[in-house]
Each structure stands twice: as C-alpha cells, then as structure tokens.
C-alpha cells in the first residue's frame, strides 16, 4: 500500500485525506509530492518501506498494546521502597500534576513574552520561589538535570577564575561525577579530597587548597546522605585563595536546614525531581542553577533567565530574557556553553510545589524526613550484625554496614516480601533512603525483615 493511496486519512494527518491532498497539489502546481524531493538524489532514497511493526491506527488498539506492555511493570507498594541514589519517592501533590498537565503549558514551546505570558510568569515565579528557598537572587530557567547543573557550575568557576583544579570535597553521586568529568575535562581536573566520616576533611583540603584551585565542590546531602557541617570553614578557606565554592544539593532539605549560600556558597545547583515530580523510572529530572546577583557570575550562566519588566500600563507585569547576549541562541559558539530545550515544565512543577508547601510545609517536611531518617538509623543499628556507616548527620539517605550477609543478598531475600531495602554500594554497605512516603510502620517492617535475615543466618 503506497501512502498516497491510503484508504483513510490518518487522524494525526488531516491533509492525508485524498481530497485535500489533490486540492493542495493543484494549488501548488505539481502532480506529485515527489517533485518536492527533487534535491534528494535517487541514490540516497530509501526504495522500500521502513521495516517497522504494523501500525495500530485505531486508538483503542494502540492503547491496549502499550498498556499491555506497561502492565508488566511492578512498582512497589507505597512506602515499601527504600531506594534513592538519585531518584526519590516524594509525595506529589495533586495540584502539581493538574497544573503541568494543562495543555497550554504542556504543549507550549518557544512563544514570545506576549502570547506565552503565562509560562514566562510561571517560570519567573519558579526562579523566585527557589531564590527564597536558597537565599540567592538569581536562579535560571531549569537545565536538564543535576548532572548538567553541576557540570555547568564547575565550568563557570573555571571560566571565572581561569584556573584548572577542582577539589571534590564530598562523596558525590558517582553517575553525576561521571557526567561532570566528561563535560569539564578539556579545561578542568577533578581532584578528590576524600571526606572523613562522611564530611569534608578540612586539614586535607587546606593542604592542597592554593591559588591553582578554581573551585571546591561540596555535595550535601552527599551520595550517602551526609550533611556537611564544615561548609562555612571550607568556604572561608576557598575564598581566601580566590576559589569558588560550588554546592550541589537537593533543595527539599532547605525548609529546615541552613541554605548553602548562608555558609558562603557562590554557586548552588542540583536536581528538581524531589520538588513535585514522580520517580518515573528515573525519567523526570530537572536541574537548577543559582548564583548571587553579581554580573561576573550571571554573565557566565548558559541558561535563560526570565526577568520582570514594566509595560506601557501601570501595575502590569511583563517579562523578558535577562542578558540574552550571553546565550548560544544569540551568538552561537561565542555564547556560554549552549541553551536549548531542557526542563521548563519541571520548573513550573517545582514552583507550584513550593507555592503549595509554603514556609511551614517545607519546614515540616524537612523535619519529617530528618526524624524518620534518624528513626530508621536507630531501628536498624539495634540489630546484631548491622552498624551505621558513619556518625554524620544524615538527611534522607544513610548507609548501613552488614556483617555475615551481603547487601545484595538482603535485597534478594526481601523481594518476596515486597520490600526494596536499598541500593548495595559494595559487598558490605547498603544505601537506604527514607522519605516522608516511608512511615514508621514501613520502617518497622524493614527493620523486622532485616533482623529476621540476620537472625536466620546466625542460627
């Protein structure tokens, strides 16, 4: 069947209807669509149909097929997953899904500030709500994810200082480090200063901190959920040699914890997934970047920044691009890195999330996560054969060290119970994640199941 002779118009392709097609060909003055492809040499033509599975033209058939595949997924019951390591199970308020499901936001793209006023305002508000949470004045429209955000933050530090060395003072998420390394390696060297007891090793850091250092990279909560208690000291020492302090983090903790800027961070970056996005099999990540209102930093940001502007009408808010000339949209390869389609809808989601939570909600949420994290640590460390990986303060994630049984085997043996206890980091350590979606009952069930395994093995 040639496409030209399809017996029906495809619902997504109105002008595949034979009548419309004939009328339009006549209006253009050609007899065949083929004439439009005159510049495509015959040798490059595909002289056969693409080898694809048969079309599911009826919506019902399509939905049944795709749903049939998706039904083979088996998410865990709420609260029974203690998996984190980059993607987190937080509660998503219904209003967030409602707003980002609105077709006006979902389907918009590159409209100008006039016809797309709404997305400019919603993203300006996202920037502004994040700015309050982080205590910084400048937040960009989101970039792809925390991997890109950290890559850009460090690249900016390199450009601003003209130096090559980045001291990595925390245990950062390994996948994030992989991306950062490949991104910055033409002009930056990542040098690890391994933390001690999960927080920055200040003496070791001071020993290597000199005027060759572009940035000190700190990640609280770290890969293992440790909160950095020495950030202010790190920042003071870094600034003394003209280095920039880059903090990659998760904004969900700053209803209760002091934001990094208050301890001297110059660039703060991280992921938005915790703020109103579902786990989505790891497929819903957005990156944020924040700096102070200092043109030395602002002019190095690659992403768009939507700013407030006046209009001809008093009392009316308009919006537009701040310092557009720094972007690759404006000046191609002379711009800062590049800008393109990234994660704006997730930024709108994060804004709605913060507007819903308000100051009290973020404070309570932070307290709940801190308390349940601590509760899980205490319940687990009481089990013979289990000890905590370190003594640092933890938010949401922590490790336990197991003796007599491997973390992988614990994971395997809890599967029949419908519990995913965490992510094995090696032959000894299990990374456990506790959010507000894991209640004390869930944590009790985890502790009981782990205790049963260790007791069974001990017998």
């Amino acid at each position: 069947m040639s496409p030209m002779s399809a017996p029906y118009a495809h619902p997504y392709v109105p002008n595949s209807a034979p009548e419309a097609r004939a009328a339009m060909l006549a209006a253009v003055g050609v007899t065949s669509v083929d004439e439009f492809y005159a510049d495509v040499p015959d040798a490059l033509r595909l002289h056969r149909p693409l080898d694809l599975p048969p079309a599911l033209v009826a919506e019902q058939d399509l939905a049944r097929h795709v749903t049939g595949l998706l039904d083979r997924n088996r998410p865990l019951a709420p609260g029974r997953s203690f998996l984190g390591a980059g993607t987190y199970h937080h509660h998503v308020p219904a209003v967030v899904d409602e707003v980002i499901g609105r077709s006006e936001f979902l389907t918009a793209y590159a409209g100008e500030p006039y016809e797309d006023h709404g997305r400019f305002q919603a993203l300006f508000e996202y920037e502004s709500l994040m700015a309050e949470l982080l205590a910084m004045d400048v937040v960009t429209v989101p970039t792809y994810d925390s991997f890109q955000a950290a890559s850009t933050a460090l690249a900016m530090a390199g450009r601003i200082t003209g130096r090559r060395t980045v001291l990595v003072a925390s245990e950062v998420l390994p996948d994030r480090r992989s991306r950062v390394h490949d991104f910055v390696r033409p002009y930056l060297d990542l040098v690890d200063v391994p933390p001690r007891d999960a927080i920055a090793d200040l003496p070791a850091l001071l020993a290597v901190l000199d005027e060759s250092v572009a940035a000190v990279w700190v990640e609280p909560p770290s890969h293992t959920g440790a909160i950095e208690t020495r950030l202010a000291e790190v920042a003071e020492a870094a600034h003394a040699v003209g280095a920039i302090v880059v903090v990659s983090t998760d904004p969900i903790c700053y209803g209760v914890l002091t934001p990094p800027a208050s301890h001297g961070a110059d660039i703060v970056c991280g992921d938005l997934q915790s703020l109103g996005l579902h786990a989505y099999y790891g497929g819903a990540h957005g990156g944020f970047l924040a700096v102070h209102d200092d043109p030395r930093f602002v002019m190095e940001l690659p992403s768009r920044i939507f700013g407030l502007a006046a209009t001809d009408v008093p009392g009316e808010y308009g919006f537009g691009d701040v310092a557009y000339e720094r972007t690759s949209f404006a000046v191609r390869e002379e711009g800062k890195e590049w800008v393109g389609t990234a994660a704006a809808l997730w930024g709108i989601a994060a804004g709605v999330y913060l507007a819903l939570q308000g100051p009290q909600g973020m404070a309570e949420l932070g307290e709940t996560i801190l308390a349940r994290t601590r509760y899980a640590q205490q319940r687990l460390q009481g089990i013979p054969g289990v000890r905590l990986g370190d003594d640092a303060v933890h938010f949401r994630e922590f490790t336990i060290e197991l003796s007599g049984v491997s973390p992988a085997s614990v994971v395997e043996r809890l599967r029949p119970l419908g519990i995913a206890p965490g992510v094995p980091l090696d032959d000894q350590r299990l990374l456990i994640c506790v959010t507000e979606t894991n209640t004390s009952d869930d944590i009790d069930a985890l502790a009981a199941a782990v205790a049963a395994i260790l007791e069974e093995d001990h017998r």
Binding site: N15, S16, L62, T87, E115, Y280, R332, A342, W346, A355
Partner: protein, 529 residues
C-alpha cells in the same frame, strides 16, 4: 428579531485571556496552607526526640524561607489563570515556530505516559519489575535504528542540544581512542545548521568553522573543501537546513569529510520531511540524533523536557552513553552497563521515560506508511503555505529561487521593511493579536528580516489558509496603519513591554527577591534604590 447571526468576519476576533494576576508572593496570607506534609509520628518522636533542635550549630535554618502562604485552591486558581494566559500549541495554528516541528502531541500518548505503573517505578528496582518499560525503550531504540539506518540508538538525553553534545562527546572519545585527539581540533558546521552544533563543539573544546551558503543558498562546497584538513574532527550539519533547502551533495560532503579522516554528524532534530524517504546512514553519516519532541510527537513542555535519541554506526557503538537496554535470547530485557569505552553517564538513568513512551506510541500509531504520509504531507503543507505566503506583497523566500523546499522555509520581509520600516519582530508581535505565534530565525540574521514557518503534517488546509491570511493582514496593516503594528500587542495579556532593564545588572530583576531589594515595594517604573 436577532437571528440569524451575521457571518463571521474573515479574520478571527481573538483576545488572549487577561487575568491581571499578581505575582504569587503578593497573594500570600499568613497562616494559609496549600498542603500538609505527612507528620512525624509519636512513636518516631519518642525514639529520636526533637531532631531539628538537635541539629549541630549553624545547620538549622534560622528563619523559614520567605515562601508565600496560600490555600490550595488559590494556588490552583493562580496557576490555571497563568495557563490561560499562555497560548500553547494545542490552541494555536503553531506553524510559526520553524525548525521546531510543532506538531500534534496525541492525547492518548499523554494518558499512556501517565500509566500508574510508571509513576512510582524506581529506576533501581529489580529489572524483573521493569520489563514493560525496558521493552518499550528497547523497541524504540530498534525502530529509531531502522528509521535512521544506524546500528544502535541511545535514548538517554533530555533535549536535542544534549543529544548533539553526546554526539560530539562520542566523536571526541573516538579520536582519543585512535590517538588523534591532539591532531583533530576543529569542527565544521554551516550557518543554517542549528546553533547548538557550533556551541556544543566549542564547549567540547573544538575550534568551530562555519560555512556560509553559496549564491543559490546551498552550503558552499568550495568553502567547505578549503576548510577541511587533517585538523578536522567532524562535520556537524543539519539537512535539510533551517532554510528548508536539502543539500543535494550531502553524500559528497560526507565523503570529503571521511577523506581527511573526519567523522560526519547529522543533526536530525527535525527529520519530519524525510521520514521513510532518506536516512542518515545511507548518506554515509557516522552519527545522528533525533528530537523525540520534534519529529516524534512528544510535547514541548514550555521548553522541555524533550528527549533526544543518538544513532550511531557500528564503529561508534562502543562510545554510546551507558547503559543501553538489550534483549536477551530468552526475551528478557536488561541493561548493558559494562561499556569501557562509553562516554559514561550523560544523564540520570535511562532517559526521559514519559517521552520515550509517547514517542513509541506515536510511531506505533503510524507505522511505516503513516510515517511516510507524515513526511509527504508535511512537505506538501510547507510548499502549499509557501505558495500562499509568496503571494503576499513584501514577502520573499531568498535563495534557490523557483525551487521547492522540504519541511520549512526561511522567508524574508526585507521588501516590506524597506517600504514601511516595519520589522519582522514587529510583525510577529502583531500576529499574536490574531492568536498566532510567529518566529524570526536564529541569530545572526543571515536572511534579512527573517521569519521561519514550518507547517508540519498536523494542520488542515483551512488552518494553513488562516495563518497566511493573518500574515497578509499584518502586511497590509504595515502599509496602511503602521502605528497599529508598532504599538502592538493590543489583544494580548500584557501590553508593549520595556526590555531595556533586562540588560543592565544594576536594574535587572532576576527574581521577586532581587526586585524587592532593588526597588523596595514600589512599582516597576520606580528607580533602583
């Protein structure tokens, strides 16, 4: 005596919603709550005590963040009003954003992507729990491999530019593996290729050489030959270019690149006009990428998330980002994460899962014949709209005069501008008064007073006519009532906006917090404090 209703006028009497909605902070009322988080249980508190007071010195936030306090319905209403003040593609004959393929994103695909088994699925769950989504990712990889002619496809990246970055990162790794990294320091692109080809190459450490068009609008092959050398790492080009002109000598370009040992990277973000017609690998390209949010029907999300797909020929497969979803002989799906030559992780986990599901469903709804019908119809629509636009006095399509275009056209209002002084930007603002989005072009404006239209396959003939009628009307206004155009918009949410402050560090207001600090509580017209 009132009926019948008079016939509608030729042009729609559009007006965008205008709610005059304050900034969300101005809606705050102390004590109101939008949501209540799950609270600390008594049993937890009994065991751990007051964890907040117990935080080490300096770690406890001194004062709560100055977020607004709003009841739930007020938050909802605020954002629904903002959504109404946003045109979005569903409400718009969105043919005015050339290069971006603003096609229909089928609603059934949104519903499938929100399947409950996806929302709460964690990426580190046992693979046996994720066989459904892994199969969809694998099948999408295979279908895109067939569509591009490439051997393997990775679906990790979140946007088109991120996918172009992955292309140049793989090229860089390839030459490092061959010991040629020191030698090959240049990347060649064309001015009508998307700017991210130039920008990502520069970010990866390459010098960028840009080829301009020849007199006919085709990329200048003589200039290209002069630019090629043993220093060339890659060519990174779009084809058809952003002019809608297909470079008929593209295979020769690729051969010339290969003849100096360089690789050829094909930006197929927008492959909408050539689906099933011609393929990247068949023209010799080593690597290509697609945007699932352009060619394959996933929504643009107000600027993302989109999704990128990287297609590579066999010699670049080892360098693909990891992991790749593979199918074992017993029909189960797993992750191949042991890839020593891989450029590594380019993004969290396995890509923009909701958009991969949407793209899978989109391709399945169309099949091979449907994809070809998409391409042919997009091209027919484009040439039809071009015929309509070129009838408007003052509009032209520079280069390749008399020749057809593929999926889009970069037009010029230069003649109208010379005659009236009305610029392409001003025409775009006025077009919004008729409910139409309109875009000029990427920078620099090689085509003077540019505008770029791409009708895709999604719009009916009458909708294309309506768009052309609006442009004709605005061009008429430029001659007969230029002040109406200059003072536009008139039917929009907001009026003419003053953008000068946005470029001045002393005056720009990057956030509500910065605005308050610089201007107190005054209106935006007052001076910085």
């Amino acid at each position: 005596m009132s009926l019948p209703v008079a016939r509608k006028p030729a042009l729609r009497r559009f007006h965008q919603a205008r709610w005059d909605e304050p900034v969300v902070f101005e809606l705050s009322a102390p004590g109101e709550r939008g949501v209540i988080p799950s609270q600390v249980e008594p049993a937890v508190r009994a065991l751990v005590g007051d964890v907040v007071s117990g935080l080490p010195d300096g770690l406890r936030r001194a004062a709560p963040p100055a977020l607004p306090e709003l009841g739930q319905m007020r938050v909802l209403r605020h954002y629904l009003r903002l959504s109404q003040e946003n045109l979005g593609a569903d409400l718009n004959v969105d043919v005015g954003q050339g290069t971006c393929t603003m096609k229909y994103s089928p609603k059934v695909n949104d519903r499938l992507a929100a399947h409950p088994s996806l929302l709460d699925l964690h990426p580190l769950q046992d693979l046996a729990d994720a066989q459904g989504i892994l199969e969809i990712i694998w099948r999408t990889q295979r279908m895109l491999a067939e569509i591009s002619g490439m051997d393997e496809v990775g679906l990790h990246t979140q946007g088109g530019s991120a996918a172009i970055w992955a292309n140049i990162a793989m090229i860089r790794a390839y030459f490092e593996g061959r010991g040629e990294a020191e030698q090959r320091t240049e990347v060649i692109t064309t001015i009508f290729s998307h700017p991210s080809n130039a920008a990502t190459a520069k970010a990866a450490g390459y010098e960028v050489i840009t080829i301009y068009p020849d007199a006919d609008g085709y990329p200048d092959i003589e200039a290209f030959k002069r630019a090629l050398s043993p220093r060339t790492a890659a060519i990174m080009v779009t084809n058809p270019e952003d002019t809608g002109i297909y470079n008929p000598r593209i295979a020769e370009w690729v051969e010339l690149a290969h003849s100096v040992g360089a690789l050829a990277s094909y930006d197929q973000a927008n492959a909408n006009g050539i689906l099933g017609i011609t393929r990247a690998r068949d023209a010799g390209f080593d690597v290509c990428h697609f945007n699932l949010h352009k060619t394959f029907g996933t929504p643009h999300g107000s600027g993302g998330p989109g999704a990128g797909a990287n297609g590579v020929a066999a010699h670049l497969v080892p360098f693909l980002p990891r992991p790749i979803v593979v199918r074992d002989d017993d029909g189960t799906f797993r992750l191949d994460d042991v890839r020593p030559l891989s450029i590594g992780k380019v993004a969290p986990f396995y890509g923009v899962v909701p958009n991969i599901v949407r793209a899978y469903a989109w391709i399945r709804a169309l099949g091979a014949d449907g994809l070809r019908a998409v391409a042919e119809t997009a091209v027919l629509n484009n040439n039809y709209l071009m015929a309509r636009v070129l009838q408007i006095p003052g509009a032209s399509a520079p280069y390749a005069t008399g020749r057809r275009r593929i999926e889009q056209v970069r037009y010029s209002w230069q003649d109208l501008y010379s005659e009236t002084g009305i610029s392409s930007e001003e025409i775009g603002v006025r077009a919004s008064d008729y409910g139409m989005h309109y875009w000029t072009s990427h920078h620099p404006y090689v085509v003077p007073q540019p505008f770029t239209l791409e009708p895709t396959e999604s719009y009916s003939k009458s909708e294309l006519d309506e768009y052309a009628d609006v442009l004709a009307q605005v061009a008429r206004e430029a001659r007969e009532a230029p002040d109406v155009v200059r003072t536009a918009p008139h039917n929009q949410t907001v009026h003419h906006t003053h953008h000068d402050d946005l470029d001045d560090p002393e005056r720009w207001a990057t956030s509500w917090r910065a605005y308050q600090r610089k201007y107190g509580c005054g209106d935006p017209g007052s001076s910085p404090g």
